[in-house]
């Protein structure tokens, strides 16, 4: 089995964790990353809920020991073809890799918030996204964050919204919003922070505690209702419109900063890869596993495996588990050949 | 025996005299002000009672027993009783004997305050007289008693467990000054009298001291210094007395006749309440009794002793906080040595809180008029389950089943939502607002035409008994009613095997004095297990509506503590007769099942 090749497409958390697991099992996985750095979305995130651990620390422990893993950055996969049981993976860097199994850990892309025009992202200076907020936390700089007095977090931007063709929940935005809300409140204790939610989905372990602390310790105010219109006032402040559905009344507010919680969407190239490899996509645009319970890491095409958020929204611990289970499944597969 | 100084005066008496005059003046002014605070009716009642022979006898007995001998404390805690009574009674006897001596030997000095106190300084003994020796012996004897009391008091501050106390009152600075000066008085008197024992005579306590002192201090100047020290200790004690807990000494003298005159607490910090507050000696009995101590160490600062202190200090924020937090279980009042009615005081403090929003219950009238309980087919028994029972449906269901079993024809007063009895409002200090609720419920009860009103919630029960005027309607708690039915043989209860620990709900037990009815009825169903602290001593479950500010975490700690007491003797079952206790204890219990009284009876029919 030692001489069998495994190519992992995508060097984010799932790819790295799967590669490490396979390496620890004595294999030599090939890890391909399209960008110039390993780490995927972890690179863009400052801290992680619910423990507020720094994303960089997690990434560091993931990339601390890559010995035995052949990894390549700037290697975008251009084409994967199949000859009998062997897959040929051609990359933008000009190499072609032979693989007995391919693991797709291509991840997700954040919803492009400019598509929700009414929220004014890309139009109004003070409308930013969760990713911008993380960048601000990491660098401490953002041209439009100066002592904001009122800050709003809009949940479910690009999620649970049929108008942008996504009925699904992105699973992590509620917790991210609360984490960021507490964080920004710590930075600006005098600011009034509002979270506009549709449903608060704090299902994970320790998440409800985050919510409780956000309410009691940080005094974050939660409004059940969706911000549906944003306009800019005279002094660049934002006027927002929402309904407080529990109050049963529309509410109007001025905001100094509005943070849109962009949801998890499939990557643009998901469809190309899927058609290239003849693997099935779900109606939500993510790869479909062969069955939803037992064979969650297998695609509809033999020898092609899936892990992480390319199969739908997932938290980071779920991504890691999925990566490890994919590795185990690949080993089983290779042994059976 | 003759006078040593012809002038009969020495400057060292001045500290004492200043203190004494100050105390007397203070007490006089305080008394006049107090009388002003009483209503005319109360004043008349008080003064009249002072001249009723039966009352006089009672007052004397009570003052003697309560203030000097601390009989109640003896009963509760003999060591503590001895400590307090030795000091109080001993001191009283020394003063009394001093006066007797003065009267016997120098009658012309009898008018001087200081003479009996410093008698030994002013006198010279010539030869031995039996009269004198006896008095010397008695004086020394009582001094020894006091000193033993003080030794205990000092020991108590080091090792309170010796007195069976978990906590004692934490003293304020002024109390400490009072305490230390009180402790200093008697050893100093011993030394001062010891100095003069060879001149003015002494007995088994003072003479050995005299020998001891003379062996290394021969300078007679020391004599005056010791008497000065003694006088200063006395003066200091008297000066701080009005501002310390020692004010209870004079206050209790007023308290007892006032109590015997039948006065009631009407205002939180005036009149009779003020006397009670001043009478609180801070003995600390209420601190250990208070269930609040189970919630956390700092919660023991909410006991009545501290309430009295904060009121004395006029610290509005603190006494309001303490008043608001109390569970109103009434245990402190039950164990209090001076019968400080802290529950009423707390309620009155709560009443003094200003509210901008008044309650408005006008909406009830249409409900009442719509015929909440139909007047048709009047029956003898009306059952009021109360608000809380909706959260513990096992109670109304069991009660109804028992009533059905006993073939009682009854009606439900609140099958479809209760109008609150009003007690929660009263407990929250909004008693005037409760009137509308009382009126509405009274109308419903009367319109039903019932003769007996059964109540399953002790909170409502106490309210119906104390605040409602239900002419022709007998109000019974379901424990009483079912006890009666069992006794009359109308309800047959099968004897079971379970060992039952019964929890006395505060409002039913201490509140209404019903301890035996539930026990009798329960012993028909199982065997009752004694509980370390029961009946008057029972520990509140912590769920009480009496507390306004206690957090649920604190409440649940109290519940756990209360349950620990109930399960100390390993019962199979904890039974209570209050929906609130049932829910609170059941939530806190993870091993012993907690059941309702009616539920247990139901299971045994």
């Amino acid at each position: 089995m030692i001489n069998k090749n495994i190519v992992i497409v995508g060097g984010g958390p799932a790819g790295l964790e799967a590669a490490r697991t396979l390496r620890n099992a004595g294999l030599t996985p090939i890890l391909l990353e399209g960008s110039d750095r390993l780490g995927g979305h972890l690179l863009e995130w400052d801290s992680l809920f619910p423990s507020n651990q720094k994303a960089s620390e997690v990434l560091e422990s993931l990339t601390a020991d890559l010995e035995g893993i052949k990894w390549f950055t700037n290697s975008k996969v251009e084409e994967i073809s199949r000859i009998k049981d062997i897959y040929l993976v051609r990359t933008s860097s000009g190499y072609t890799f032979q693989a007995n199994a391919v693991l797709l850990t291509t991840g997700f892309s954040l919803f492009n918030a400019t598509l929700k025009q009414e929220l004014g992202y890309g139009i109004y200076d003070r409308v930013i996204t969760n990713a911008d907020m993380e960048r601000y936390f990491a660098t401490g700089e953002h041209p439009c964050i100066h002592e904001p007095k009122t800050i709003g977090f809009v949940h479910c931007v690009g999620s649970r919204d049929e108008k942008i063709c996504n009925r699904a929940c992105s699973k992590v935005c509620c917790a991210t919003a609360i984490k960021q809300a507490c964080h920004i409140k710590e930075k600006f204790p005098l600011a009034q922070v509002y979270c506009f939610y549709m449903d608060l989905r704090m299902f994970g372990r320790g998440w409800e505690d985050m919510y409780y602390n956000a309410q009691t310790k940080y005094g974050i105010r939660f409004v059940r209702g969706r911000v549906c219109e944003v306009s800019e006032g005279m002094d660049a402040t934002l006027n927002i419109k929402a309904e407080d559905t529990l109050l049963g009344k529309p509410i109007r507010m001025k905001m100094d900063l509005l943070v849109l919680m962009s949801g998890i969407r499939p990557r643009k190239d998901t469809e190309d890869i899927a058609s290239n490899l003849h693997i099935e996509l779900g109606t939500d645009g993510f790869y479909s596993p062969r069955d939803p319970f037992i064979r969650t890491n297998e695609s509809s095409n033999e020898g092609i495996f899936l892990a992480g958020t390319c199969t739908g929204p997932a938290t980071l611990p779920e991504t890691f588990s999925s990566a490890r289970s994919a590795a185990a499944r690949i080993i089983e597969y290779l042994e059976s050949k | 025996m003759r006078e040593r100084l012809l002038s009969g005066f020495d400057p060292f008496v001045l500290p004492f005299m200043i203190g004494m005059c100050f105390v007397l003046l203070y007490c006089l002014v305080a008394f006049v002000r107090l009388m002003g605070q009483l209503s005319r009716k109360e004043r008349r009642r008080f003064f009249r009672s002072l001249f009723i022979p039966k009352n006089i006898a009672r007052n004397v007995r009570d003052i003697f027993c309560d203030c000097l001998l601390h009989v109640k404390l003896w009963k509760r805690n003999p060591r503590l009783g001895y400590m307090h009574s030795s000091i109080a009674f001993g001191w009283f006897m020394i003063i009394l004997l001093g006066h007797i001596e003065t009267f016997l030997f120098v009658p012309h000095r009898a008018g001087l305050f200081y003479y009996p106190i410093f008698f030994r300084y002013f006198m010279v003994m010539e030869g031995t007289e039996l009269k004198g020796s006896l008095l010397f012996f008695l004086m020394d004897f009582f001094l020894a008693v006091i000193l033993s009391g003080i030794a205990l008091a000092v020991y108590k501050r080091i090792h309170r467990a010796f007195f069976g106390m978990r906590r004692t009152t934490r003293l304020s600075l002024i109390d400490l000054i009072g305490l230390y000066s009180l402790w200093a008085i008697f050893p100093l008197r011993w030394i001062a009298e010891g100095f003069t024992a060879n001149v003015a005579g002494g007995s088994f306590m003072t003479i050995p001291i005299n020998w001891l002192l003379r062996s290394f201090m021969s300078n007679p100047e020391n004599i005056t210094a010791a008497w000065w020290a003694y006088s200063i200790a006395l003066g200091t004690f008297m000066c701080v007395l009005p501002y310390s807990r020692y004010m209870h000494i004079p206050a209790e003298m007023i308290l007892i006749p006032m109590r015997n005159a039948g006065l009631k607490v009407r205002a939180a910090r005036r009149g009779f309440a003020l006397v009670q507050i001043k009478s609180c000696p801070g003995c600390g009995v209420c601190i250990d009794a208070c269930p609040m101590g189970l919630a956390g160490k700092k919660n023991s600062m909410d006991a009545s002793a501290y309430l009295a202190r904060q009121i004395r200090r006029n610290n509005q924020k603190n006494y309001r906080d303490i008043a608001d937090k109390c569970l109103m279980c009434g245990k402190c009042k039950a164990v209090c040595q001076v019968q400080f009615d802290s529950i009423s005081v707390r309620r009155l403090i709560r009443e003094a809180v200003p509210y901008k929003l008044a309650h408005d219950y006008s909406y009830l009238s249409s409900y009442v008029e719509s015929g909440a309980v139909s007047a048709e087919n009047p029956v003898e028994v009306l059952y009021y389950a109360g608000c809380m029972s909706a959260q513990t449906p096992v109670i109304p269901r069991s009660v109804q089943r028992l009533l059905d079993t006993a073939n009682i024809s009854y009606k439900l007063m609140d099958p479809d939502g209760s109008i609150c009895c009003g007690r929660p409002l009263i407990l929250a200090g909004r008693s005037s607002q409760a009137r509308e609720l009382i009126r509405s419920n009274t109308r419903i009860i009367h319109s039903s035409g019932c003769k007996i009103l059964i109540v399953s919630c002790p909170i409502c029960y106490r309210m119906f008994r104390e605040e409602y005027k239900l002419k022709g309607v007998q109000v019974l708690h379901y424990t009483e009613y079912f006890d009666m039915l069992i006794k009359e043989g109308r309800l047959a209860v099968r004897q079971g095997e379970e060992r039952i620990a019964y929890h006395d709900p505060c409002e039913l037990g201490r509140g209404c004095g019903i301890y035996n009815a539930p026990r009798r009825a329960l012993s028909a169903a199982g065997s009752l297990v004694p509980v370390p602290k029961e009946k008057v001593e029972s520990i509140c479950c912590g769920g009480s509506l009496g507390s306004l500010t206690l957090s649920y975490q604190e409440r649940s700690r109290i519940a756990v503590g209360s349950l620990k007491n109930l399960t100390a003797n390993g019962p199979d079952l904890v039974v209570t007769a209050c929906p609130l206790c049932l829910k609170t204890l059941a939530d806190a219990s993870d091993s012993t099942p907690v059941k309702d009284f009616a539920q247990v009876l139901c299971e045994h029919t």
Binding site: - | M388, A390, S418, I419, C420, L548
Partner: protein, 117 residues
């Protein structure tokens, strides 16, 4: 104010202008009663409410309205409260509802304005 009667007139807005409502009362309430922040709007208190059975009393809505600076109507509805304490028994967040109500009654006074001040 109205000079010409057109047979119709400007209708007041139903919207709550959150930043135009004075909030010192709510801040005072939070300081006095931090429990108010714990509410998750589950409505248990309102479901069991004895007074709510006969009237418009709605504690859940009142807490929410106060946090949005809309006290006038909701505070008035609290005057129906009988302080029976059932809400205290059911609150999943352990809010001391009775004292919260008393605190609201101490701070808020209907008639002082407070719809869209």
């Amino acid at each position: 104010m109205i000079i010409t009667d057109f047979g119709y007139c400007l209708a007041p807005s139903n919207a709550v202008k959150v930043d135009k409502t004075t909030d010192w009362r709510f801040e005072k309430l939070c300081a006095l009663e931090s429990d108010v922040l714990k509410c998750i709007g589950c409505g248990s208190c309102t479901a069991v409410c004895s007074a709510g059975h006969f009237s418009q009393m709605n504690l859940r809505q009142c807490i929410l309205s106060l946090s949005r600076g809309q006290w006038e109507k909701s505070v008035r509805s609290l005057s129906r409260c009988m302080l029976c304490g059932k809400c205290l028994m059911v609150c999943p967040r352990g809010i001391n509802t009775r004292h919260l109500i008393l605190s609201i009654c101490r701070i808020y006074c209907p008639g002082e304005g407070g719809s869209n001040a």
